[in-house]
Amino acid sequence: MNEQLTLEMLIECIQSGNANVRAAARDQAGQVGAAAIEPLAGIACEGEFEVARAANRAMQNVVYHAGRPGASDEATAVSAELVKLVGAEPPLQFRRDVLWMLWQIAGPEAVEPVAALLDNADLRDDARMCLEGLPADEAVAALRAGLAAAPDDFKPAVAHSLRKRGVEVPDVPNLRLVPTKETSVAPVGR
């Protein structure tokens, strides 16, 4: 695949039954840019197992490529496309993957839609991690608001993210070193 990869070629090749063709498309997906995100997401959610995986990884490669120095407009465009995917429709694990990509490239524009997931029982920890990784001050503000609204069992995690961002959170316990999981194995020979 030596010629310039177009969106149409990428989408066709990523769905190929030939793993070599898929891999070549996946590896060059970055050059297609933000326009590739939505169609790749569709394939990642609905394609055959290995095809879906190739599409998912192609999206990640778009994120890596758009994040290169001097390409901030591309990064913003990719971030905008990813934000559209954290809503309710895509499968849960795929939304987790998107949140993971977002902290790698997004700016303040992603904070509000991600913060809205802090009260989603399935995605709240992925949203917290995404906000923790986003360098924007708005992300810290969202975590502060999230802490105030969080149920007790989620507060320590949000407080941890805030501490990572340099915020003192004296009133929430730090549970990192508290053991919780007991084994059912008995010592042999006792």
Binding site: G67, K181, V188
Partner: protein, 445 residues
């Protein structure tokens, strides 16, 4: 708890110039383990007891049977492995699933951490916060920030850390180091490491985890994902987030030898540039092929990782050499100097030096270098005296960071600029973000 000394000066053997006699070279540097007084016995907990962890536990059990140490706890998230470990360790050892119970024990002086790579940093930091000395398998960390956090936590706690790049402690590693330190090949400008490819695979679908494995604890700091048996056991190293391929697994050995022998501990490259190829299908995503060039300045030299590279055919041996016969010729490194070359095979538990280094006889003015009594024994001495271990936390983190940067350059498809004085990538905002990664709570640094 043993109250270890922490203020002894760093050992002075690194540049022991001059008239080191053969007798001095041969003298034991450490207190022999069997000379430990009964009230000096260290008490250990083993966290992660399969694979390498099983080997470490077996070795420690031998020391316990000789009256040298105590084993108070074994821990694993796989209860089948835990049961086997309990059988091996003996009935005096308590058993745990959650490593934090081990860290809570005041009677445990030190822990041996042999879990998958993504758990090394968080468990080391948590152990340091509980004041435990740490032996942790290599590679030390999965991100730059993990490495920095390990250094900070371990230095703050003043604990002895040994990272499991045991190649530095092999008999022929000493001979290679001594040969190179005495300028037998002149000024070294290149070290080219070679290794065979990483595998492709992991084609099984996700599933429910088996009942004997605590998947939540296994994932630890990693973001949540469904169980897949392509992750377990040992195959975690073919996945970027939990391993990173041969460059991380064996790079943490072969490049560890290079940094040690080049006297480059405490330094880092100024640029890192990688190319490679990811697997074409399957769960495993670590590069099958990867070539990385690390450029060092002041002094100027180049380190490369070539996967695959150009292996040097193994030399014929009798088996009576210090390292015995070469059983793993598929990886090693070629050193190129102004007056010749030198190569070795392996670099981990098996390290085999080229004949000319083994047969070289030091003259009266030769420099000597440190000869480790064994990787574990070197750690014990670090615990007892407070001196730096041969693969201390800074050295271990820095070698792991080399491998991290290689993979990151490969993933991003671009050259990275590195400021080792700050242990930071410069000039690339996204790459700087990727020096760290958010962690699942509470398994977080």
């Amino acid at each position: 708890m043993i109250h270890h000394k922490v203020t002894l000066p760093r050992r002075g053997f690194l540049k022991t110039a001059g008239a080191a006699s053969a007798a001095a070279v041969a003298a034991p540097y450490l207190v022999p383990a069997n000379a430990m007084a009964a009230n000096d016995k260290l008490t250990f907990g083993h966290i992660g007891v399969g694979g390498m962890g099983g080997g470490h536990l077996r070795g420690m059990k031998g020391r316990m049977d000789r009256g040298q140490v105590n084993i108070a706890a074994v821990c694993d998230v796989d209860e089948r492995r835990l049961e086997n470990a309990s059988r091996m360790a003996g009935s005096q050892a308590d058993v745990y699933r959650d490593y934090r119970y081990v860290l809570d024990r005041d009677d445990i002086d030190a822990v041996v951490i042999s879990t998958p790579d993504h758990l090394h940093a968080v468990q080391t930091v948590h152990a340091a916060e509980r004041g435990k000395h740490v032996y942790v398998e290599k590679p030390a960390c999965c991100t730059v920030q993990e490495g920095k956090a390990m250094i900070e936590a371990c230095n703050r706690a003043k604990i002895a850390v040994q990272v499991g790049s045991q190649g530095r402690s092999q008999p022929e590693a000493y001979l290679a180091h001594r040969y190179l330190a005495n300028n037998n090949i002149g000024k070294i400008s290149r070290v080219d490491c070679w290794h065979y490819r990483s595998p492709s695979g992991g084609t099984h679908p996700d599933s429910d985890p088996p009942e004997h494995i605590d998947w939540d604890l296994w994932l630890g700091p990693l973001r949540w994902r469904p169980f897949n048996r392509g992750y377990l056991h040992g195959t975690f190293r073919w996945i970027m987030e939990s391993g990173g391929g041969q460059i991380r697994d064996r790079g943490a050995h072969v490049m560890s030898c290079a940094m040690w022998w080049m006297g480059a501990d405490g330094t880092g490259p100024v640029t890192v540039e990688a190319t490679g190829e990811a697997p074409r299908r399957g769960l495993w995503d670590s590069a099958v092929n990867i070539n990385v060039t690390y450029t060092f300045k002041n002094p100027d030299w180049v380190l490369t990782w070539n996967q695959p590279g150009k292996p040097v055919p193994p030399e014929e041996r009798t088996g009576r050499e210090p390292g015995g016969r070469i059983s793993r010729p598929g990886y090693g490194a070629l050193y190129t100097g102004s007056e010749g070359t030198f190569h070795h095979w392996g670099g981990d538990g098996g390290t085999w030096a080229e004949r000319k280094a083994r047969e070289w006889e030091p003259g009266p003015d030769a420099k000597d270098v440190y000869r480790s009594p064994g990787h574990m024994e070197d750690w014990f001495e670090g615990i007892k005296t407070g001196r730096k271990t041969i693969m201390n936390v800074e050295a271990g983190a820095d070698v792991a960071i080399l491998t991290v940067l290689g993979n990151l350059s490969f993933l991003l498809g671009r050259k990275l600029q590195w400021d080792h004085s700050k242990r930071e990538i410069v000039g690339d905002e996204q790459a700087r973000r990727l020096m760290d990664r958010p962690e699942r709570y509470p398994y977080a640094i």
